[in-house]
Amino acid sequence: MDYPFLFSSLIKIAALLAVVLGIMNYAVYAERRISALIQDRLGPNRVGPAGLFQPIADAMKFLLKEDFTPAHVNTFYYWLAPCLAMIPAITTLAVVPFGSTLFGVPMVIADINVGVLFVFAIASLGVYGIVLAGWSSNSKYPFLGGVRSSSQMISYELSLGLAVIPVFMLIGQLRLTEVVRYQIENGWLIAPFVGDWGNLHKWLIALPMFISFVVFVIAIFAETNRLPFDLPEAETELVGGYHTEYGSMKFGLFFLGEYVAMITGSAIIVTLFLGGWHFPGVPDGSHGWGWGLFNIFIFFSKVVALLFVFIWVRWTLPRFRYDQLMRLGWVFFFEIALVNIFLMAIILAYFPAQ
């Protein structure tokens, strides 16, 4: 038994969970404050200084409410669904490298060689939580929400998977730590030409990388059921969508699971396209534990910046109509991602890296 490994892994898991759940709580608060500011309001500013204790008050409210199970539901699946909404989102974080090294320990919980496949495999389980919630509630609005959600997530998973293929054509490995290492050596994939301005190869791969980035980000929006793709829980049409019949902490798990999925999605976008924990000019953790901590800070700063974009987009765009959503997924993003793979292949074949 490898006790140091077990011990360090447990500490990493606990620390990462603490940080992610903290970000999640304050993402809810940020969502409410930023949406208010965008709409020329003030938002929650009463509980504690500037309303900073609002998430704690909300959590207390969820925990103290009666845990009510309606009589008409399928109890087993009704209880299973909220767990399935939360677990895949958290599990995915296991393979994301959130820092360089700290005291010689790599800052990734499970550095497995199928990295991104694992992410897709687990993330696609998230749809079961929503489908089971919609079906087991035995009620019309949740059912419609669940059906919408399953078709939407399946449609966008396609472009999600296809969008990252050019990244791995370039890097040749699925391991996410290798993706970050490649980006440290060759520039972030969103703008590989920075710092190496004369390199034609890097200018050319920037185009398919940018297309990949846009398609991937939009597909992540659809996967996390965020506006403009929030049809599963469209308040105006479906009351609350798949979680209409849920109350207290079970609703809380759905609600917070959405935010954890956002954090996970942002973490993967940061790892694949925005250089992970790397920032130009900042050394990695082998130069001292201070730099190791700073790398972790850089990673989470990037994640938070992306979360702001998520919130910003939500309060800007109206919801898509359902046929528009499907047309966008199947007619545009699927094709764009497919063509992008060929584009990348041509660039790699005729303009290889010098």
Partner: protein, 176 residues
């Protein structure tokens, strides 16, 4: 008859959709920035900031009893307000002056005077009907309490809200 709706011909830039999204995001970001810089006027923070000084002269707030300039309660317990009150919020228990009293001419004074603020509809009829100008609608509007009993204003409370009012007083004036 079928009506053919002319669909607008979108330019390439409009059909691309992303520029429109970006310009929309620029608009929302401008609102966010103006809010953060304090350039946008927002709702008043109610309990801390109030609009009281801007209330109009004729504002109808909580009804209250007033005293005259010599400190006497103007009310003579005629009970007209109790009778006119549409929601029957006012309850008066009149007391009587004895025959030899200095104010025997006044006959009655309010022994108890309760206004149930849960019932009061702020119509101002009590003020209108009062022959002694003893009850006025003041500018207090935030009437709160933890129990129903808290919401009943007794005589002391009404006098506290009312304060002193100057002007003609008929019955308490010895010369009239």
């Amino acid at each position: 008859m079928a009506i053919t709706v002319q669909r607008p011909n979108l330019t390439f830039r409009e059909r691309l959709y992303l520029p429109a999204i970006l310009s929309g995001m620029a608009i929302t970001f401008r609102h966010l920035k103006n809010m953060l810089l304090g350039r946008t006027k927002v709702t008043m923070q109610y309990p801390e900031q109030k609009w009281d000084s801007n209330l109009p002269e004729h504002y109808r707030g909580a009804p209250a009893l007033v005293k005259d300039e010599t400190g006497r309660v103007r009310c003579v317990a005629c009970q007209l307000c109790e009778f006119i009150c549409p929601p029957r919020a006012i309850k008066i228990v009149p007391g009587e002056f004895s025959a030899g009293d200095k104010f025997a001419k006044v006959e009655k004074f309010p022994h108890e005077f309760d206004i149930d603020m849960i019932r009061c509809i702020y119509c101002g009829m009590c003020e209108e009907v009062c022959p002694e100008q003893a009850i006025y609608l003041r500018k207090d509007y935030a009437i709160t309490g933890f129990t129903r009993a808290d919401m009943v204003h007794n005589k002391e409370k009404l006098l506290e809200i009312g304060g002193v009012m100057h002007g003609v007083v008929l019955k308490w004036n010895e010369k009239k």
